[in-house]
Structures are given as structure tokens and as C-alpha cells.
Symmetry: C2
Subunit: 198 residues, 2 copies
């Protein structure tokens, strides 16, 4: 796979990357492994706080303003979720239970529910609506999210992120192990991945 895309459904800057990843990767000719993971255990192992973006009120205020400006530049709707960060375990499991080609549309629907419609993505109803929005059977999505395989899969992507040295989200890792952190580095990551090949 050309690029592994590590994102957490509760991550604010992951919103910007998720919404444009599929189109950008297609344009760059890069295959992407959509790998939702959990930032919580990563932060815990690193011994850092819950989110660097919330380290101070000044930084949190800036984050929302920065994302709003970036979204506006791209014609993307945006409203800060409340509360933040949300519980992303169920969404991550649901996404990983899907077939890989189904993950981009479902992920975008979940992120839009959270960062546009201000829904609680920890709620089963939100995930059902996201499934419908992505053209998927909501009952199948709910069953997949509740499966032991999905639980194991989310453990595995989180462990893979830790093994790769991930410390935040979104993070992009190329086949040769080059790491890029943040929506700001998405284009660089795709360019690197395209030059390396699969």
C-alpha cells in the first residue's frame, strides 16, 4: 500500500484530511490504507496530556479559528463539536469492520456528522445515520462495530501507529517508513508515496 492514513475520529485536524484524502490520493495515483486508530492510548504511552491542542485556552481557541479558516478556504462547512474531544471508539470499530473501499465515504459521513452537524459520534444513532449517508446498511455497520474482530482491529491499528512512532493525528506513513504529521503535510506525503511506489 502506498500510504497508511492514521486518523482518529475524534481528532479535529483529521477532519480536514479525511474530507480531501480520497480525491487527493486519486489525483496523486497513490493507494491509501485508511487506518482509524485511537489517540488516547498513544498519548497515554507517550506520557503527554489528552490533546496538545488543548494544552491551554489560547491554543484551543486558535485551533478552532485555524480549522475554520482552512475549511473556508476549501469551501468546507465547519462547526466546532461540543463536547470535544468526543468518544471515537465505536466509530473506529465501525469503520474497521467495513470493507476497505467502504471506509472513505463512511469516514467522511462520520466526520461531517461531528464537525458540520455537531452530532455526538459516540451515539449509535449518529453512526447509523452516517452509514445511511454513505450508502451502507446501518444494521450491518452496527453489527460490525460490535464484533470482536472490530475491537481487535482497532487495537491493531493503534499498535501499528505506536510502532510507527505516531504521536498525533492525522499522520501519514509511506511504504518506506517516512512519516508526515498533520493535514498540512498531506500533499507532501502523497508526493513522497508516489515517488516511492508501492
Amino acid at each position: 500500500m502506498g500510504l497508511t492514513f492514521f486518523y482518529d475520529f475524534a481528532s479535529s485536524y483529521s477532519y480536514l484530511a479525511v474530507m480531501r484524502m480520497e480525491a487527493a490520493a486519486r489525483a496523486a495515483g497513490v493507494n491509501v490504507a485508511w487506518s482509524p486508530f485511537l489517540l488516547g492510548p498513544v498519548f497515554a504511552e507517550l506520557g503527554v496530556g489528552p490533546s496538545p491542542n488543548l494544552a491551554s485556552p489560547q491554543r484551543a481557541r486558535y485551533m478552532w479559528r485555524d480549522i475554520a479558516r482552512r475549511a473556508a478556504q476549501r469551501g468546507l462547512a465547519f462547526a466546532p463539536p461540543d463536547p470535544f474531544p468526543q468518544r471515537s471508539v465505536a466509530a473506529g470499530r465501525a469503520a474497521l469492520a467495513l470493507a476497505e473501499p467502504e471506509r472513505p465515504a463512511f469516514s467522511r459521513a462520520v466526520f461531517a456528522a461531528q464537525f458540520v452537524d455537531r452530532k455526538d459520534i459516540g451515539a449509535a444513532e449518529t453512526l447509523r445515520m452516517a452509514a445511511v449517508a454513505a450508502g451502507l446498511d446501518p444494521a450491518r455497520v452496527a453489527a460490525g462495530a460490535a464484533s470482536p474482530e472490530a475491537k481487535s482491529a482497532l487495537f491493531a491499528t493503534t499498535a501499528a501507529a505506536q510502532a510507527a512512532g505516531v504521536f498525533g493525528a492525522p499522520t501519514f506513513v509511506t511504504a518506506d517508513g517516512e512519516m508526515f504529521w498533520g493535514d498540512d503535510r498531506l500533499d507532501d506525503a502523497l508526493e513522497w508515496a508516489a515517488s516511492v511506489g508501492s
Copy 2:
């Protein structure tokens, strides 16, 4: 003034912004107030650690790799300083003691000494050499750095940064109070400043 440019001489990402600010601002038609300040007191007041970029070994390793890649994209030499972060008080005072038009060249010389030649910018000899590289009289620069006015000026820029809500460096603040953080946002900041005017 169109844009206030807050940078700390010990800040790694400030290197990327300092080296291109003068040319980028000229191209954008924006006047820039070069305002070296001290991140230390800012971090202390926010109650955060010494540098978010050093919060974990993973993040520190990434920072150096990220800066090396960005520098390479721009044809800019780069070598991580050791130790990091360095003592930036003397450099900040020296820069503020200069006339405003003298600050860009002197600042670039100090950053190049630190991030290319791996010199200790806390050393008086490094600042003397930077003064010479910038076409300035090193004795005048040293005297300026030691003046009570320079000490007060560095207190003042740090207080101004705090009043503006600054939490990192480099940070750019437009005349209408819009804040942009990080070298990644330099172009956005200049565009905003140009649209607002002075």
C-alpha cells in the same frame, strides 16, 4: 504595521519563517514588525512544558525530520542545533537594540549560525559574528544587547505576544488582530495582512 512577526531565536520552526519572511513580505507588499520575544515566560504563564515539540522523543525526532524536509524543499541548509533549545535572551536583546530595518539580516545571520553552523547563540562571539555577517558593527550590536533599553524591549515584545494570545513561535498577528501560528501559515498571514491593509 501590516504584520507583527513574533519569533524566538531559539525556536526551531522560526528558522524556516525567518529565512523567507523578508522576501515573502516584500512580494506581498506587507510591512512587517520583526518582534523577537521569549517563549519561556509564555510557556510558563500558560502552564505548559518547555516546548510542545519536545513533549516526547517521537515528536522531537519528527520535528527535526520535518524541518529538514522543508528546508530541503527550499534549498536551505539545515543542521539540528545541540543543545536545543538554546539561550535566546542575548540574541533577542541584540536584535531589538537595532534599527528595525537592520533586524531581518541580523536575525537571519543568527538563525544561520544556529541551524546551519551549529553555533551557540548564547555566546557573545556568535552574536558578534552574526553582526559582521549582517554588515553591522559588532561593537555597536554588543553594546545594544547589553543596554537597559534592550532588556525592556524584550520584556515588552514578550508581554505583547502574551496579550495577543501567542502560545508558540513563529506567530504572525495582523493589524486587525488575526493570528496565524507556524511557518506553514506565513503565506496565509501575509495574504490576510495585505487584504486588511495597515
